[in-house]
Symmetry: C2
Subunit: 178 residues, 2 copies
DNA sequence: CTACAATGTGAATAGAGATTCACATCACAG
DNA sequence: CTGTGATGTGAATCTCTATTCACATTGTAG
């Protein structure tokens, strides 16, 4: 697979990070694909952990979303390679069965957000006019463009601040009028 | 630059598309970097064309945004490689002066959207409480996650329909109450 | 202690993609 | 017609990564 060695994703770079020599990686993983798959699994787990967490903390849908937003941003801030792996890596691979893993993770995550929205609509705290799926995607839209700008400016953009501002905007759109 | 040959971005693939042999590309471009730079310029131009276009069509800010959304989606639908080039390619390159080009294009585009929002706020048609930049980023957020899902599902996701639904949601958040 | 499994290493191999180069064609100005 | 510049081609080269392999080292169960 002489392909796509965006430096951060090369076996050599990984080895360096871990304090090994490239060939050493192969004592722990069968191939680079293996490494990526494992990483992806890990990312998936973390995302769903966050969902579980907010569900435990509160039962108010809007509040759950707000917390999830915060957790998501923290997750990405700490593990800056996540967008790396999830996006640039596999979205564009044409085939690759890892594209499927990514799709499952993302649609799964969005599905969880949908459920939260749906519950909010049933309880009457969220507007019923909008499609939960649309809402869920828009929710992701609070973060994604911001992360891109954040990446492009090498962290100079204030992700947290943006997320707070954007949340207010989003809230306006989804909450029922009191 | 033996790096990152996500197939669609390889010189070989480009050559094939154009009906040439790889080496033939070098009669027209000095290097792969040259090709990417030229492509990026083209993308930048198209984005700004769209902005100009909507400004010519109407002076109502919200309407301008709605049209821009439509045009943006059409642009991406037709030139499916745009997210490819703009995102996966350079965002993660670490250094690379192309990252700068991408940043300029994106922040420029967002800047234009900001101006539209600002004008709308001054004219009273858009809420004054939200930061124009936040609004502009959220606007991009209507499209970005959707494009990703669209890519991941190989076009099975209905981008246009989503954009219409999401626009309604977005509109609710930015329009002043009548 | 000792044999065995796990782990780490450097050198060697293999394959992919970018780039170069010497050699055809081809269009066309003179 | 003829020579020159633009354009296209295949083979060869270069570089970068992944991957393998034979050989230490080490930790540990017996």
């Amino acid at each position: 697979m002489g392909t796509c060695g965006v430096d951060a994703l090369s076996i050599a770079a990984l080895a360096r990070q871990v304090g090994l020599v490239p060939s050493g990686i192969y004592r722990h993983f069968k191939s680079k694909n293996d490494v990526l798959d494992a990483t992806l699994d890990l990312i998936g787990e973390k995302l769903f952990e966050n969902v579980k967490l907010v569900q435990k903390k509160t039962s108010d849908s809007a509040e759950q979303l707000r917390m999830l937003l915060k957790l998501h941003i923290k997750l990405i801030s700490v593990n800056r390679a996540i967008p790396h792996i999830v996006f640039s890596e596999s979205i564009y691979s044409g085939s690759s069965y890892r594209k499927n893993s990514v799709r499952n993770i993302i649609t799964g995550y969005i599905g969880e957000i949908e459920k939260i929205v749906l519950k909010g609509q049933k309880s009457g705290s969220l507007r019923k006019e909008v499609d939960p799926k649309t809402t869920a995607l828009m929710f992701m839209g609070i973060i994604l463009p911001a992360v891109i700008v954040w990446k492009l400016t090498d962290g100079a953009f204030d992700l947290v601040r943006h997320s707070e501002d954007a949340w207010l905007l989003f809230k306006t759109a989804i909450l029922t009028d009191q």
